[in-house]
Amino acid sequence: MSDTHRSGAGRHSIPPFQTFLELNRAPVYRFLVVAVGPQDADDVFQETFVAALKAYRRLTDGAKLDRWILTIASRKAIDHHRGAARRAVPSEDLPETATTDRGPLDADDPLWRAVRSLPPRQRVAVVLRHVLDRSYADIAELMASSEPTARANVHQGTKRLRELMT
């Protein structure tokens, strides 16, 4: 296994996983708290970094690992909502929400209610933009979409939040 991480010319060496984890754990957590909700942030955090660990020995370039981990976290957040939607038993009594986390103690906070009502991709795009201050180019790359799509997701999501809050 000693040859897989040797850095070639122009490449950044792969940092020790511990260093990578320490640098990225707080922003990833911060993203997940709003992207999937405080109740599920821990679980999705684990899934995100376990996936990173599984892929880590195959990395060949240590540059932009902050984006790499957010790409994984974004995908896990979206998968989480899709999985939750599949698991949920449809019922006419339940409020119609796009996502299913229960939220923190102040779950009735109108902003939380509004955030939970966003479709998963809009929600993730809005959080990348407004909580982590990522550029639209970054968001497009992280979410494997075009830049106009990233912009549209952020704008529609933000607009919807404003509407629900007023």
């Binding site: 020790p16 996983f17 911060r30 708290v33 821990d42």
Partner: protein, 205 residues
């Protein structure tokens, strides 16, 4: 409504810093249990200062003394072994237990398997011969040179011992200069003295 400001308030950076630390510790436990950690690192207290031990699936790969730079150590482990270096205690339990027993005077021989990945070919021979010097015994650099059939290589033996990645367990502290003089130790002479006193090989001054 200022969406940007209000959304940030839902997830304050200070909370994320705290909560993510706990989550990272859970991750370390889980990763170690699932075999996703190639080099597990943990620290322990000892009479010669805090020790950092690193363990791979093949065994104990290094013991580092307090004062060695943590980032340098982690980067070396990542470069030479695997980048999946993580702070995880469970895989290091056996190594730390044996070291604690040794410092408590309850262990004279280490049983833990060692991983020799960080030891070069010449140093392998030197450290193998060194491992055969028992608790409470001393040998000189020249003795070790003779035992590996390189009687003129005492100086090279000294430098191989200086690069011993697994001090204490591979007992390079038992190797002394001609006439029993305490000479160089990567961890500093006071530590060498403490270890030899513990083993009863040095009389109190």
């Amino acid at each position: 409504m200022n969406v940007q400001r209000d959304l940030k308030k839902l997830s304050p950076g200070s909370d994320a810093a705290r909560d993510s630390r706990a989550a990272a510790q859970d991750l370390a436990r889980r990763a170690a249990a699932e075999g996703l950690v190639d080099v597990a690192v943990a620290t322990m207290d000892s009479p010669i200062g805090e020790l950092t031990v690193a363990v791979t699936p093949r065994g104990l790969v290094t013991v580092a003394f307090e004062g060695e730079d943590r980032d340098v150590l982690f980067e070396r482990l990542a470069r030479e072994l695997s980048p999946r270096v993580m702070e995880a205690t469970a895989p290091t339990d056996e190594a730390r237990r044996e070291l604690e027993q040794y410092f408590g005077g309850d262990r004279r021989r280490f049983e833990i398997t060692v991983d020799r990945s960080l030891i070069g070919p010449f140093a392998q021979k030197v450290l193998q011969a060194t491992s055969e010097v028992g608790y409470g015994e001393l040998a000189t650099y020249g003795d070790i040179a003779g035992r590996i059939d390189r009687p003129k290589a005492a100086r090279a033996v000294g430098s191989a011992l200086g690069s011993n990645p697994i001090p204490i367990v591979i007992p390079c502290h038992r190797i002394v200069g001609a006439g029993g003089k305490l000479t160089g130790y990567a961890g500093g002479l006071p530590r060498k003295e403490t270890l030899l006193r513990l083993e009863g090989s040095l009389l109190e001054r």
